[in-house]
Structures are given as C-alpha cells and as structure tokens.
C-alpha cells in the first residue's frame, strides 16, 4: 500500500514537471545556449568538432527528447480536447512529427557520398563514420571507431578475439615511413636515397619501395624518382602519387585513370634498378642527357646527376625484402579542410604501457594505420587482414558516369552549373539511357536519391563527379509535420486576433 502510494505521488510529480511550462522554457533555454555554443565551436574549429561536442552528443539527444516529451504531455494534459484546442494541438503535433522524423532519419536513413570518374561504374556509398574492418579468412568483422576531436579523450576499442586493442587515435595525422626487413623472400625491395642541390641547396632523404606505387614513384621538386621493378616497369604510364599515404587498390586505380595535373611537362628523372645488392641508376635531365650510375649503399659517396642546379644523389641503404613500418604524429594543421585525415594504432593487449611508440612499432607489437591503409597480422598462425576505412554501403545496383559537365561564368573559373550524365544498372550488365543529374534536380531510384553534390577540379576539365546519396525514411513525417506546424501557428494567431477584435 505504502509503496504504491509513494510511487503514485512520484509519478504524479514527474507528470506535473513534464506538463509544466517551466520545463519547456528551461529546455528551450538549454537548447539555445548549446546551439549558440555549437555554432561558435564550428566557426573556431570545424564541423566534426561541433558535431562531436553538441549535435551528435548523447546529452543533446536528451535535451531534444525532453522537449519532445514536454510537448507531448502538455498536449495530453489538455484532454478532453475541445474545438478551441485545435490550433495549439496542431502546432505541438507538428513539432513532434518533425522531431520523430528527424530521429528516424538519423537512425534508419542513409547519407553518404558516391565518387566516380567518367566511364567508371560504382555502387559503393562512402559514409562519414569510421571503422576497422577485419578479414579473418572468410569471416569479416567490423569495429566502429568514434571520430574524436584532438582535444577530446579517445575511448579504446578492444578486439578481444584477436588479443588486440585500438589504443591510440590521431585526428589529423601525418605519417613517417620506415622500411625494414620483412623476413619474407617474396617482399619487394626498398632503397633509401639522398638528393641534394637545386636552387635552394635542399638536402632530402627519400625511401623508394617496390611494394606500393606511392613509394615506387616519388616526386622530388620537379624531378621524379622511379624505382623500376617487375611490378612497376619503366614503360608504365606515369602515376599520380600521394607520398603521404600508402595506397589502397582503389586509390591506385584512380591514379591510373586520372593524372591530369602532373606529368604534363616532363621534368628530370632518376631511374633506379636493384641488381643483387647493387644499384644501377640512370639520371635523365630535362634535356634528355643521361648519366649512368653504379653504386653500393654508402652515405659518403655522392654522384652527379647532370641536372640543373648541381643536383647530386647518394644511396644510403638497401633492404632486399622490405616491409613498410609507419608511425604517425599529429599534423601541424589541426583544423579545417586542409587538415589531413586520421590515423589509429592497433596494439597487442598485453603491450607494456611503458614501451615507447617507436619500440612498440619496431618490435611488431603495434601497428599504425592511416585512413585507407591495411595491414596483415599473424595471429595464432593465421593471417588476419585489418583495414582502417570509412564505412561503406554497397547499393543493390550501380551507377555509371557517362559524362561530367561543367559550365562556368564567361571569362572566369567560377562554376555556373555542373551536372552528371549517369546510367543506372538494370542487372545482367545492362544500363539505362543516360539520366541528367543536376543541381536542384536529383535522381530517384529504388527509394534512394542521388544529388549532384560536388566534383574534383581537374585539368583541362574535371572528370570526377561526387554525388550525395540519400535515403530518408523520415522525410514524409518531417514534411507533414512542417505543414501542420505552420498551419497551427497561423491558426493560433488568427484565432486570437478574431477573438480580440470581437471583444
């Protein structure tokens, strides 16, 4: 008896709070303060930071939930509803529908990007969320990684099946690569060289490695340095490379298809071949003059290249069968669009916390992965591949970009309009006729909407289009909610006005 009485009083009290205007005003006040804070966070730092601290934080959802409950219970409290409640009820119903619709969108919707180049077909939608993908034989597992701003604490992700843990996170990371003996006869060779000279008298070391295109072809100022191997023979078309990251297969493919910016004017070249512990190099100047070099690794010996600016080269080290070891450090740039992407460290769970990062990586107890990189682990004699990527969704059909078209204002580079002509797959390798996707005119297919979002600038014209891919099951709720809300608000004011003018 007594308990139920207390409980009853308790619920009554809760109910009173829920229907009170005080709660509404307090909630709105908290909402106002947090929204204002968020916009300033976004202005000072960047969008993900504002989302992390406010828009996607747990407590912000709580505030919204509180507002929703308040509105719901206030509406219920007026029961039994009379005719003069109509406007008030409509306005409150509208807000609730918008809130619920937004929640459904957040929970069940799809919002990502599809990036493809002319002639390419793709069904891969890239989301902004991050994850570690583990391929253990035929089994594939994913572990979501929470994007965390530089100032916040990263919560570790344990992967107990493998005795591993994602223990470090750098929001905007720059990689340093080192190459060491892999102990595997099939691994590709690596060589470290030093280039000095040029107008600025610069001295810089470069690692070249046959295992990855970004390291087999490197840019040193205007000069290109090439490691010639079976996998990357000299004849192969010059590749666009990004020396900051190891490439994943998709990146290599993209490099093959589009290399518009580099490779137009031909700079000097250094071509390196490795033959049984010796280096056979050929320095080709811009004018086509060739200098042959035969050398063994020795930092003291300096060779002329015959290039302008008295550029010399020396060979520091050779690793016949090398594997890449990366360590990451926070980048100088920590905010904004030009900040580089993130990196994580995967370490053994039994790693001694006293061990330095360098030691851990060298001893194979920890591995750094930049976004888009993968590594193979030997766990209990099995090979397990792990990759750090953005989450991706495979669509049940694919889109093929026929043409990307851009129209600029006369006499300027400012875009006036840009659009994509796209084929949609219909199974058995068949495609529809081209469909024109343009600004404000999206394509709807199978409940998914494709919008022209952006493009990658290219020369002489851009050929890579970026579509925003969206499925929004909450859309109709939001639309109807909006309509009802506006209707209710208008009625609310008109009604009062009529009542007043009669009086």
């Amino acid at each position: 008896m007594k308990f139920s009485e207390t409980a009853g009083k308790f619920f009554e009290r809760i109910y009173e709070i829920l229907i009170s205007l005080k709660l509404a005003v307090i909630t709105i006040g908290i909402l106002l303060v947090s929204l204002i804070t968020a916009t300033f966070l976004e202005s000072i730092y960047d969008t993900p930071t504002a989302q992390y601290w406010v828009y996607r934080s747990f407590w912000f959802y709580l505030v919204l939930l509180c507002l929703g409950l308040n509105i719901l219970f206030v509406a219920i409290s007026r029961w039994p509803w009379k005719k003069h409640h109509t406007a008030f009820l409509l306005a409150h119903l509208g807000i609730m529908m918008i809130l619920i619709g937004s929640w459904i969108t957040q929970r069940y919707g799809l919002d990502g990007n599809l990036r493809f180049t002319e002639g390419e077909a793709s069904s891969l939608v890239e989301l902004s969320d991050l994850m570690v993908v583990v391929a253990d034989g035929p089994e594939v597992k994913t572990f979501p990684i929470q994007w965390t701003p530089p100032s916040a604490h990263f919560s570790k992700v344990r992967m107990d099946d493998y005795g591993l843990v994602v223990d470090r996170w750098i929001t905007h990371a720059e990689g340093d690569y080192d190459f060491m003996d892999s102990g595997d006869q099939t691994s590709q060779p690596a060589v470290k060289i030093r280039v000095q000279g040029g107008p600025m008298r610069i001295v810089q070391d470069y690692w070249l490695w046959g295992g990855d295109v970004n390291f087999a072809r490197r840019q040193a100022g205007p000069a290109q340095i090439k490691l010639i191997t079976e996998k990357f023979p000299l004849e192969k078309e010059d590749l666009k490379v990004d020396p900051k990251r190891l490439s994943d297969p998709k990146a290599v493919q993209a490099a093959h298809s589009a290399s518009p910016l580099f490779g137009t004017g031909k700079g000097p070249e250094l071509r390196i071949r490795l033959k049984g512990g010796k280096i056979e190099a050929e320095a080709v100047s811009r004018e086509g003059k060739k200098v042959q070099i035969t050398a063994e690794p020795n930092a003291e010996k300096v060779y002329e290249t015959g290039w302008k600016g008295n550029v010399t080269v020396s060979f520091l080290a050779i690793v016949p069968h090398a594997t890449a070891v990366a360590t990451y450090r926070p980048s100088q740039i920590q905010y904004g669009n030009s900040a580089p992407s993130s990196a994580i460290r995967i370490a053994a769970q039994d790693l001694d916390p006293q061990t330095t990062d360098q030691q851990a990586v060298r001893s194979g107890k920890a591995v750094w992965l930049g976004l888009g990189e993968r590594a193979v682990f030997k766990i209990r004699d099995r090979e397990v591949a792990m990759g750090f990527t953005t989450q991706r969704v495979q669509l049940p059909f694919s889109l093929k970009l026929k043409e990307f078209r851009i129209d600029r204002y006369d006499g300027s580079r400012d875009p006036k309009e840009y659009s994509s002509f796209v084929h949609v797959s219909q199974g058995q390798g068949k495609y529809t006729d081209p469909i024109h996707i343009r600004m404000n005119e999206p394509l709807q297919h199978n409940g998914i909407t494709f919008y022209q979002a952006s493009y990658e600038e290219g020369f002489p014209r851009p050929v890579t289009s970026i579509l925003s891919v969206n499925r929004d099951p909450g859309r109709w709720l939001k639309y109807w909610g909006s309509l009802i809300l506006v209707l209710g608000t208008i009625l609310l004011f008109v009604k009062k006005y009529v009542r007043r003018s009669k009086a």
Partner: protein, 568 residues
C-alpha cells in the same frame, strides 16, 4: 601570376621617384555628355553590363567609395586610360587597415595613396612574387565563397588587385569590349589573339576616341564613342540566335535601364524621403490636434514618395538582374527595409496609428542609409549567382519569406523601442498596452514567416543538398532566433512577462536576428551558406547593438528602481 606580372609591369613611367610629396595639380574633368558611351556593353564579372556600371565598379574598387571628387565615373576611367602617368601620382588607391599602412611605410592618417607611393616599398612586390609561386592560394573554393583569411592578407591582396586594375585601364586589359566569337569568351582590347575585322574595328575606334579625349576635342570624341558602341553591338551579332543565350538576351535589353538605375540612385532618394517622412510623423505624434491633419497629409505623402522611390529601385534591380533582389547583404537590407514599410503600412491600414509609420520610416531610412554608406563592405553591385542559387523559384520563396520575417521582427523592435521610451516618460498604461499590442502583432507575423521560411529552406536543402536539416550554422541561427521568439510568446501567454518584460525582450531577441542575418555571414563565416560570406562592419554593427542593449538596461534600471536601491 597575373598580379605579379602586372606589378612588375607597373614600372612604365619615368617620373617615379620624384612626384609624390609635391603639391599636385588637379587633373581636369571633362564635364562632357558621356551618356552615349556609358551604354556601351561590356562583359565583366560574369555578365553583360553597360560601361557605366563597369566605371562605377572601378571607382569603388580603387577608392572604396562611391565616387571620386565628383567625377563622372565614365569620365574618370577614360581619364585613367588617357593620362595614366598623371594619375600615377594621385592619391586614389584606398588602403584602410592600419597594420598594412605601417607594413608599407605609409602615412597612417591618410586613407588614399598613389600607385607610386604603394610601389615604393618592396614589400608588396615580394608578396606578389609569393602569390605567383604559390598558386594554391589563388584557387577559389568549391562553394564559391571566400575562405577565411587574415584580414591583413586580404587587404594586401585587395591593394594588389587595385594596382592591377589601375594599370590594366591604361594598357587595355580592363576594357573587355571585344565580344565572344566561336567559343572564345569576351576579351579585352589588349588581347593579341583577337585579330578579326570586328576586333580591329573596335580597337581603332577606341584608340581614336581616346586620342580625341586627350586632345580635348569633344565633337570627335562623341563621334568616336558612338562608333565604339556601334562596333561592339555589331560584333555581338545580336540577330544571330545561336550566339544569344537567355541570359544574354535579357542583359542586352536592360543595358539602358541599368544606366538609368545607376544615375537615378533610387535608394538614396528613398532614405531622404523616409527621413523627411519620419520627422513629419514625429510632428504628428507630438503636435496638438489642430495642426495634426496638415502634418498627417504631409507625412503620408513623403512616406508614399519614399516608398515609390524604394519600389522603383527594387523593381529596376529585379528587371536588370532577372531575379529577386536577395542574393547578398546589400540586397537583403534594401529588401528588408521595404518589408518593414510594407508591414507598417498593412498594420497602419487596420489600426490607423501614426506611430507605426513613424517607426517604419525610421527603420527603413536607417536600413537604406546603412546599405548606402558602406559600399566597400556591402557590395552594391549586381552579380551573377553561384550554382546552388540559380533556382529562381526557391530563391524567391525561401529567402523572401525569411527576410520578410526579419522585417516583421525589425518592426516589432522599433515599436518596442517606442514603448520603452514611453516607460521612461511614465506614459499611461493603456497607451503602453496599445503599443505592445502592435509590437505583438508584428512579432506574430515574424514567427510565422520565419518558421515557414526556415522549413522552406529545409525543403530546398533537401532538394539540392540531400538533407532536410544538417545543423548548418545559418539554419541553426534561424532556429535560435525562432526559439527565442517562441519562448517570449509562451512567457507572455502564461503571464511570466508583463508589458515591460515584453517590450524589453522584443528588443533583446532582435539581437538573435542580427546574429542569424549578419553574424553568421560576417562573424562566424562557416557552413554551407558560404556564398553570402564576407567580412567587415563588426565595429558599427556591434556598436549599434550595444547601444540598443544599453538603452534597454537603462530603461529597466529606471523602471525597476535598481538605481534607487543603489543610491540608498
């Protein structure tokens, strides 16, 4: 690259070092009739416009003000082209930031400097070199907005652009008078690739005209300028439907109207008349009943004429630009000022209260003056739209609704200020209640319009960006303003705030609108609405907002007796 080359090329004059400190002879104006030449079409900044507009833009860009010492802008640019060596030593190039003046070794008190003075310090040259080598910083970002940068750096870039412009007027780079042919865009007179007969003809006429200008031969000049115009029009092949896009067709038709619009300066007439109206309305409010009728008529007609000028200006601008005038800060202020007048007039029609039109006139006058006063900060030019805005339908509905919401809130703010004034004067309760009722009515308009406009924005965003709501700063601030006003309406409904509280909170919550309207674009500068971003004006805006808040505080202190308590 362009800037660097231009700067290196600036040294085309012998009289470099000597000139600047001597008292300079004025360069004489011609005071001829340039109206014929003013209508010559040119294609700059992505659209076809009359030379008159181009000349005004040159004056604005060089001097940061609307006019230079009473020169007809067309006369001014012709003089710059004809006598570059004389102008080089004239202080016509604006430098505003103190830090930059120090950096360049310029006198801190002056606001304008000559090209010679600017080049004397080697810093600008070095900076231009750096710009040339670092091509990345010259790439515009995708959304077409201005990336956030150090204001000093921006100012230096602007100075370089001014120098470039100054030089290009003399060497022909700025005179984009050779029409597009066969896929080749409009090109300047100096373009050596343009060798066709039309281009040669335009060049010859232009050279002849400029020579006549130098020789002070008015008759030959007028003949020459007419020839230039005809040659350009001929080369445009107006009769050939293939060379005419929809935009171009409209732009050719509106050349004359644009010159008329430029010379009429309707918004200036607007604020002058509104000012007159406001003063007359105040007389109506304070006069004894006898004279009231006369002042009432006078005030009504001044207001009406102001409204006429205002509407004429907006209509002309719509006609010239081919779209509703709400694509930048200048246009939106002018539009909101009209909205305030409209709401004031609508409520006046039902309530017949002079205070409504008095407040509307003051606000509209203030808005038009603000828009007119800072052309360097708020660009009054008509510019083509970034891709996402090229949907007239949505631009009209979404932006017009939101800005009308702002207008209603502005009216509410104005009336509430009058209410606060009445509190100070200890006016009777019924007068105050009446004023608050008017303010409340305006606020209701505002809430409905802002809610509808924000939702319409969501629908547009859904259609073009693929999401209804994305917590973008502009969206969020519209929501913040809306929530603020909704809180007030609720508090008033349950009686938490009384007459004074309502008036005070109506004024305070307008600060949220200022932030959503001005702040997001000019202070935060972040998010997807980047096409409206710019910088500047913080000083005056914050000062006005601060004074407004101080006024509320002062009235509150008097009203609530805070000051008395302190004294005791």
């Amino acid at each position: 690259m362009k800037i660097r080359n231009a700067l290196l090329g600036l040294i085309f004059v012998s009289s470099w070092a000597s000139a600047s400190d001597l008292a300079l002879p004025e360069i004489p104006k011609k005071k001829w009739d340039f109206s014929e030449f003013a209508q010559t079409p040119t294609h700059v900044g992505g659209r076809l416009k009359p030379l008159d507009t181009f000349a005004r833009e040159v004056v604005l860009q060089l001097t940061s003000s609307r006019s230079y010492k009473g020169w007809d802008p067309v006369d001014f640019v012709l003089s710059l082209a004809a006598h570059p060596a004389d102008w080089e030593t004239m202080p016509i190039i604006s430098v505003s930031l103190l830090d930059v003046k120090r950096q360049l070794g310029l006198e801190e008190k002056r606001s304008h400097f000559s090209a010679v003075e600017l080049i004397r310090d080697s810093y600008l040259g070095q900076y231009a070199q750096r710009l040339g080598s670092d091509s990345k910083s010259m790439v515009p970002n995708l959304s077409g907005g201005v990336a956030k940068a150090d204001p000093r750096e921006q100012e230096i870039k602007k100075i370089l652009e001014r120098l470039l412009l100054f030089r290009s007027l003399a060497n022909g780079d700025a005179w984009t008078l050779i029409p597009a042919t066969g896929g080749h865009p409009w090109s300047p007179l100096s373009d050596k690739n343009q060798k066709g007969p039309e281009a040669t003809e335009i060049r010859a006429h232009f050279a002849g005209m400029l020579q006549a200008y130098r020789n002070e031969d008015e008759k030959t000049f007028r003949g020459g300028s007419l020839h230039v115009r005809q040659a350009v029009l001929k080369a445009m092949k107006l009769e050939d439907p293939k060379s005419m896009t929809e935009d171009l067709k409209r732009e050719v038709k509106t050349l004359g109207s644009e010159v008329f619009y430029n010379r009429l300066h309707p918004f200036m007439w607007g604020w002058i008349l509104y000012l007159l109206g406001a003063i007359l309305w105040i007389f109506v409010l304070v006069q004894n009943p006898k004279a009231k009728a006369v002042f009432n008529t006078l005030a009504l007609s001044a207001t009406g004429m102001g409204l006429l000028a205002h509407i004429t200006g907006i209509t002309l601008r719509c006609y010239i630009a081919g779209r509703p005038p709400v694509s930048n800060m200048y246009e939106s202020i002018v539009w909101v000022a009209l909205g305030v007048m409209a709401f004031g007039a609508i409520i006046y029609a039902t309530q017949r209260q002079a205070v409504l039109l008095a407040v509307s006139c003051v606000l509209a006058c203030f808005g038009l003056i603000a828009a007119d006063a800072a052309p360097a900060m708020m660009d009054p030019g008509i510019h083509p739209l970034v891709p996402v805005l090229r949907s007239n339908y949505w631009l009209t509905i979404h932006v017009l609704t939101i800005t009308l919401g702002y207008a209603a809130f502005a009216l509410s703010l104005g009336i509430s200020n009058v209410t606060l004034w009445n509190f100070l004067k200890k006016a009777n309760a019924s007068k105050i209640a009446g004023l608050n009722q008017l303010s409340y009515r305006a606020m209701q308009f505002g809430v409905v319009l802002l809610a509808a406009g924000t939702i319409l924005g969501g629908i547009w965003a859904d259609a073009s960006w693929g999401r209804f709501w994305g917590w973008d700063p502009k969206e969020v601030w519209a929501l913040i303003a809306l929530l603020g006003y909704i809180a007030i309406l609720h508090a008033r409904y349950v009686g938490w705030i009384q007459q004074f509280g309502f008036a005070a909170s109506s004024v305070v919550s307008f600060m949220l609108v200022v932030m959503a309207w001005y702040g997001v674009n000019f202070v935060l500068g972040e998010g997807k609405h980047s096409y409206g971003f710019a910088s500047g004006g913080r000083g005056p805006v914050f000062t006005v907002c601060g004074l407004q808040l101080l006024f509320v505080l002062w009235v509150a202190a008097r009203q609530q007796g805070w000051l008395k308590k302190v004294r005791l």
